[in-house]
Symmetry: C2
Subunit: 241 residues, 2 copies
Amino acid sequence: MANKAAFRIMENCLTCEFREDRLFCNLPDDVLEALQSLKTSSVYPKGTLLCLEGQAPRGIYVLCTGKAKLSTTSAEGKSIILRIAEPGEVLGLTAIVSNQPYECTVETLETSQANFIPQRDFLRFIQENAEVGMKVAQQLTHNCHCAYQEIRSLGHSNSVPEKLAKLILVWSEHPLALSHTKPGEIPIRVTLTQEEIAQFVGTSRETVSRTLGDFKRKGFLKIKGATWWINKPALENVVTT
Amino acid sequence: MANKAAFRIMENCLTCEFREDRLFCNLPDDVLEALQSLKTSSVYPKGTLLCLEGQAPRGIYVLCTGKAKLSTTSAEGKSIILRIAEPGEVLGLTAIVSNQPYECTVETLETSQANFIPQRDFLRFIQENAEVGMKVAQQLTHNCHCAYQEIRSLGHSNSVPEKLAKLILVWSEHPLALSHTKPGEIPIRVTLTQEEIAQFVGTSRETVSRTLGDFKRKGFLKIKGATWWINKPALENVVTT
DNA sequence: ATCGTGCTGTGATCCAGATCACCCCTGCAC
DNA sequence: GTGCAGGGGTGATCTGGATCACAGCACGAT
């Protein structure tokens, strides 16, 4: 908790610096004001479970800062990562709209701020604001899109190297801003363990380890701690092969 | 086209006998009236492609009668069936809401009636009617739910027999209404080819053939043409094993 | 320094299911 | 009839990747 002070909590949505970039926050003053009056902001440490698969719906979370991992577990205890939610996303929407138990478990991957809005308040709110309804539809569409991507990846039995390369390429779309990097090497930050990567691509931890080793040997990427350097063209080649 | 006369087209949504059962049609008279004025009804023969993956969005289809198969294709030409849409569902929503190309190909599995509404009209309509916005959210939620199911099925490497059994069990929730059936044998109608079933569970045609053969030998089901008799408890046993 | 605990690397083994290569239907067109 | 196309059955073969079983290694707690 020593770095608590370093984490700035944003209490007021109206003056939030990211307001315009974010689907759900980019609303007229009066609407945002009303929405804001329903929320409770909190900061959650890394590893917090915001909601659990199977739990009765309580409300939604708007992720303000940080990242969260959405996963679903099978009867046999295996779990799959569905996607990583970025700041600005609304979590728990499907459960709230359908009034069914949460379909996935949400776990913060870093210290994150999220605004909670109770189900009842939120439902009333979207019924009164067609504008917000549209945003809800857009977030749901995004969820669907990610899910379809995942289905394509899992179902079209690409080999593990191919799936892994695809995943890394997606990650490399949000590169790290480092000063001195060789051209053609994209630096990214990876905080997931190999175990979690395995859950993402639907394979075993060992295979991820072997495949990454293979990639390193072939010069497709370099790994130093949580920072990876990506050789994009080389990886793209793996995908099309 | 000899049986054209046998197919009754429903022109008026207000007097449609199914109106109340269907998410998207169960609306107050005035709203439904307005929605209706935007639509064009048509009857499509089996095998019609209502929309193609990658196509620019034109509008949505409300499926009135019949069934449609939603599938997505990989670069290598393999395709996966995402789900079978039932009457009352709205198709093409994600594309219209996000204004992105259609994410899946929709093909009618039987002669089907569908009402088409152009993108622009529909978007304007939902922005003016918060009530309809909510229905849109519900349909999208349903899409997500199906997609997550599929991910769980594909990703949690259940064996092929298990996945197949699960699929058949889902089908057996809509049994055929036959007069004389033995107790414990649920009759269902299956119009998909083995190839299509393979695409559904993400496996090869041969494996489907072998697995079904196995099920028949073990008395889990009987197949006569397009009618199958399901021994539910036996199949449930396959799933939990 | 000495544990313990969580992550990563790697070898050995084994099998479900993909793939290839046929054959047999049944229905339809000519 | 004959030919042919689209489905369905089945055997033989081969392999990707799961699984088991360890062994390092980093890092924090004691």
